[in-house]
Amino acid sequence: MSDQVRLEEDFSLEALQNGDQAEFARVVEAYSGYIYRLAMKMLQNPQDAEDILQETFIKAYKAFPKFDGRSKISTWLYRIVTNEALMFLRRKRPDLISVEVPRQDDNEDDLKPLQIIDWCCLPEAELMSDEARRYLDESVDQLSENLKMTFILRDIEGLSTKETAEVLDISETAVKTRLHRARLRLREMLTSYYKERLPQTV
């Protein structure tokens, strides 16, 4: 997974804290692709993702004088973009907030696998067809906000459990629990999709 290799961070913190534009441009160059991809996954819309991308770097530039360098720059940027995206989603869909709270995320029974069907044997071309890719995206979008953010950061962006915990400001245990729930939900959704594509057995 070459795209998930974390970049070396050899930026001058001092220059960034002093508002040095050239150094800031290097940060933008290094991370804008990751930030944009993350915004796209979270918002599922190119225009919204672009807005959030711009907001993220504007905020970062303003906040650099206060950045203490205790976390990695990438983690700090991920944190800004995640918060921006969450605020955006809540502005756009205020009706969803109330649904979010009680949600059945904490219900253990809900985790029980319902569909035991082996679709692993499907050819890669079928598993990763354009239609399947769209279905993969839509499925992530159906997760609750908490599960969605955790899954995107861990399994799509490839952040470690520790980094994800830092970005979302939750414990590492909570990251693991949410990731596990997200994966089980997705497994269920993917099973519903791929089982229809299995060769018919008579």
């Binding site: 998930q4 933008v28 992530v140």
Partner: protein
């Protein structure tokens, strides 16, 4: 639907197993169980495949060039866009 008491017992460990983060002891226990329980084997296989598919289909972290240009403009960083792209814009 998984029925055995045992299967439920392993359910919470499956992600750790997929990530290779399960203790050696629990790992052995789960593998022993899976050799007898096709259901759990299937859940693990499809869970693994689910994670794999998301890894494999993740787009490259590349920003479309028009999005990049607008970002640099918005940040007043035009001068750092790089020569090639600047020429491209000037010629428009």
């Amino acid at each position: 639907m998984i029925h055995h008491q045992n299967c439920t017992h392993f359910l919470n460990s499956l992600s750790d197993y997929v990530d290779d983060e399960l203790s050696a002891e629990l790992c052995q226990e789960l593998e022993r169980h899976m050799s007898d329980c096709e259901d759990c084997q299937i859940v693990v296989d499809t869970l693994k495949k689910t994670v794999y598919l998301y890894h494999e289909t993740a787009e490259e972290p590349i920003i479309p060039s028009d999005v990049r240009v607008r970002l640099y403009r918005r940040l007043n960083l035009d001068e750092f866009l790089g020569d090639m792209q600047k020429r491209e814009i000037d010629s428009r």
